[in-house]
Symmetry: D2
Subunit: 330 residues, 4 copies
């Protein structure tokens, strides 16, 4: 312990920007310090110009995070999105002009059911609106050739192209398509996309096949080609899927670098042993994260952390618009 770094008590100021607040938080303790560190590391990633995988789990789009994600895509504050199917379905729902609504989380769910309102904690949407989006997906899926398995990146690029024509507002899928940001969805069948594809298959016999192995191959190639950073909002399949790119690379090509920058925002915790809540130190034992990586785990609800971090990023003025040449996108 050669040098001592004192905690600097945070001083509220009427003139402080969000960026100032985040910078000040890095000198407090506990999760405030981690949020400050996450902000700094994200900026470091952008400066180092590494390839940024962004894992998205939890009901973030219904929770009002869509425009933040669009902002991150538009400004190239991420390079590749790995998401749950649900987020991508709710994104399409909003892109097509439909909304989510606020509700008391202690509402009577039997009444919600009777009114056809599907609840997500303190938020809901009418089921009939979801069904309209189901049909949009089915119409789109009819255009896919069952004989040609598509990676999920291709699936969402094609959907993005179509939705960009039909959109009422911009969303993840449309912005990602326009900005050549690939979207992977490793558990796509486990969502309303899966439901729509199954209903289409059961009703019409048109059975889309997805090239999930292709998803693994492509993301490994991205991880092998670039120096990489990772940002995880929640855990689940997006986190694991991005983490495993380094394991796949090590097996296929030997050596092992690990991701060089790592941020996670999670309400989970290490003591339950699952991958969603595990530390980046644990990931270092596997070689998923580089031994020298810059890392910050923020234990916080992402609906608090993301608006703060994104507002702070907006105030940095960092520009990183130029799309990387992503070969696999249509």
């Amino acid at each position: 312990m050669p040098r001592r770094y004192p905690v600097c008590p945070f001083e509220p100021s009427s003139g402080a920007s969000v960026k100032d607040v985040l910078e000040g938080m890095e000198r407090v303790s506990f999760q405030g310090r981690m949020l400050g560190a996450a902000f700094r590391i994200w900026r470091d990633m952008l400066k180092a110009n590494v390839y940024i995988f962004f894992g998205l789990a939890g009901a973030m789009v219904p929770a009002g995070m869509r425009k933040i994600l669009v902002f991150l895509i538009e400004n190239r504050y991420l390079d590749c999105l790995v998401a749950t199917g649900a987020n991508l379905f709710h994104d399409l729902h909003e892109t097509l002009g439909r909304r989510h609504f606020m509700v008391d989380p202690n509402v009577d769910d039997h009444e919600m059911r009777e009114q056809g309102l599907d609840r997500i904690y303190d938020t809901y949407a009418p089921e009939r609106d979801f069904i309209l989006t189901d049909h949009y997906v089915m119409d789109f899926a009819r255009t896919l050739d069952p004989a040609q398995p598509a990676t999920t990146a291709r699936f969402f690029a094609l959907l993005g192209e179509r939705a960009d024509r039909d959109k009422k507002e911009d969303g993840l899928i449309t912005a990602a398509w326009r900005n050549r940001v690939p979207i992977y969805c490793p558990a796509i069948a486990d969502s309303s996309y899966g439901i729509a594809l199954a209903v289409l298959a059961a009703k019409t016999g048109h059975k889309v096949t997805l090239d999930l192995v292709g998803d693994v191959v492509e993301t490994e190639e991205l991880a092998a080609r670039y120096r990489t950073g990772v940002i995880y909002v929640g855990g689940g399949t997006p986190k694991n899927f991005v983490q495993q790119t380094e394991v796949t690379t090590a097996i296929l090509r030997g050596g092992c670098r690990g991701h060089e920058y790592a941020i996670q925002i999670t309400a989970d915790a290490p003591q339950w042993g699952g991958l969603s809540g595990c530390t980046f130190q644990e990931a270092q034992s596997w070689g998923k994260i580089s031994a020298k990586a810059k890392m910050a785990s923020v234990h916080a609800d992402a609906t608090i952390a993301l608006p703060i971090l994104a507002s702070g990023l907006a105030q940095t003025g960092i520009r990183r618009k130029k799309p990387r040449p992503v070969t696999r996108n249509p």
Copy 2:
């Protein structure tokens, strides 16, 4: 509030069986009450002879839960397993005679890395053992016809048949195969199975295609054919995948019954808004769970809850061996 049910203080007894303890816990408060309720509802499911979907997430097999799961399968205390790929990979690892080991969770992960030991909180296994299992999966995958997409249930049934010949100990996959319990793995690519299939494809061009839409179609058929109960250990894709069967049924066939019995054991919580931690009340608003369902959410680490519940079930003497006619299995 017409009638009052007093809390009955729990009385320790030298003669009490685990079953007695669980029955006594239903009259205490908080999560103890929920664990007692989960035990009763599981027995109710078995008595009502509903079809039981069992979702398995979290690192349960590395954590020493494999034999409990085999016990549940052998005794038909579950009818269909939906699991993360990781659990099924670690199961194969143990089935082939390899082990997981205990470690202090504060161990130096750089040293672990140098020794090639992959850590899962307080547990680890040598990476070279995992690689042997990777090769076993690749050898198996070579036997699959790329032109014929397989559902994950078919994938694991065929793997179970093969592993049953090679096994050192019984595991989920082998027991499920022998007992005609289908195993679905909606995020199979997001695991060492995905890695093995990608490495095989990259190295040899033999690219297995999985019929994920078929998984959704089949599980919907199971949900439509039977009265159902659900048990979730952790959240993630297994929980969502089983929950969505009822949504798919409602769209395809109209009407909506919802699962009639529901248990979850989770370290997550509702206030973060994600599906993994959401209440069954919330699921009732969607029609995923029946308005009249018997439900218990236990907020506890499954490595505590499962040994207790399984020991209690073993002491009930309930027999439910006869396999249901599952048509899709090979």
Copy 3:
């Protein structure tokens, strides 16, 4: 890592006792392992015959844990109880023949209010019953001499003596009195005891004075006299109060041993930085816990852990009845 200890998958058995289950759990992972470790360490404490401080926070008595605590006192599985005032008030309520009742935690609290029912998550009691207990405390407090400040241990010993005559059922306070187990309550004013004493003072001018500094002096003496172990159910003032005995001893007498055995059962977690959820490793930096202590932190609801642990202890047959000579009790 010279020797490897494999995880031993837990095997359910119809003949297993609770003790067997707990012993088996020590070879699994995550919090199951910790519960098994807690059981072993508690037995080690009893064998080593150290002086056991037991900290009790959270609404454990309303939750049906009273008889477990009486069992622990009667069998001398603890030597000194440090509790929140609320637990000791609810204990008196039950000792005098009143009950707590079960309720759905989603009940309408406005209706509860109208009916005069005070809710504690999924449990409640009628307010009028609490007021009867308030009056019992006031009647007792009238017998205390305002000019003679009483330690809380003395307060509860005298109350125990009185309640033992009036009791309908045995409780912590009565059992502790009969078994010469001192009860300390460092935040006594922060509970219905504080309310009753304030109401008495405001209405009659009879103002009881408590010798809180005496509590600190006495518990330091206990910690200095004996080799010690600690068991914490929840955090709060009971945990901190017992932890600080070692700091006080170090200042007063020099040297520092720290508690030699340590168990905590908590739903809190370290990452929030508070003392309630902190690790025993952190406590070692302060010298509160011995560098060589046997320690187990169990992240679990105590309404699950306590019934299991107490049932397991009941099956060990360990007898440790003889009271230690506690000088300060009346």
Copy 4:
């Protein structure tokens, strides 16, 4: 559900102030919405000019929150502080010019012990600095008359007066003294204050007596005299102590209003049944919170929430300097 309030996706902006961000967050979901609601309700409290009780638990001062609390006191954004002894001891430590330092939470605690460094998660201070503060408290306590029990409000007012002369920087105790904000510390013996008073008593026989019943009487009077709002950072004794003022009032004076505004920032959760994590709805069943209260529970680490909220408040320009006539302060 007569009217629908859509979720408004949050839009990052380079020109947004912290206040703007908080206002935008009220239209997202989950805990982001709650943080936004807490900000609005705090402002409502200030506008309604109710008497604001502020409960402070958790290691907030070591975590760099001292200046935020001073800011809240100086601007009269709170009227009465109820705190744990630890926060008030660490405040004195910093006020006298000593610091807390940053450390990796995975540091080796045996090494910390050898160097005499006391750790609080990712923060520490040298023990010898704490001992200097202990002596300051003992010197102060010598000036108190053992025959005259002091409320903790009086204890901290007198200490504030003294520390204001000796201070290197301003702290809670000094700012509260200057601004006539009373500080209550219901568990004062459970902290280094208790240790210092016990050491003083053991070494010199000078035994300070605290009038804890007086604390309850005084806070009840404040709750009875004013319309009230409450803000809780963490749970523990501060939360319960403030909550119980309404119960005491109801018993002493009949009727029951309950606190009219209520905010809590907590890392705890309702399902464990304890008071620290319980909902304000539950508190309404007891009459502690008014049936019509405006309420927000924010599940977040206070080291994230407080810097954001305080910065937002600083940008509102609300002025509320004039001290209320608090009769009991010296």
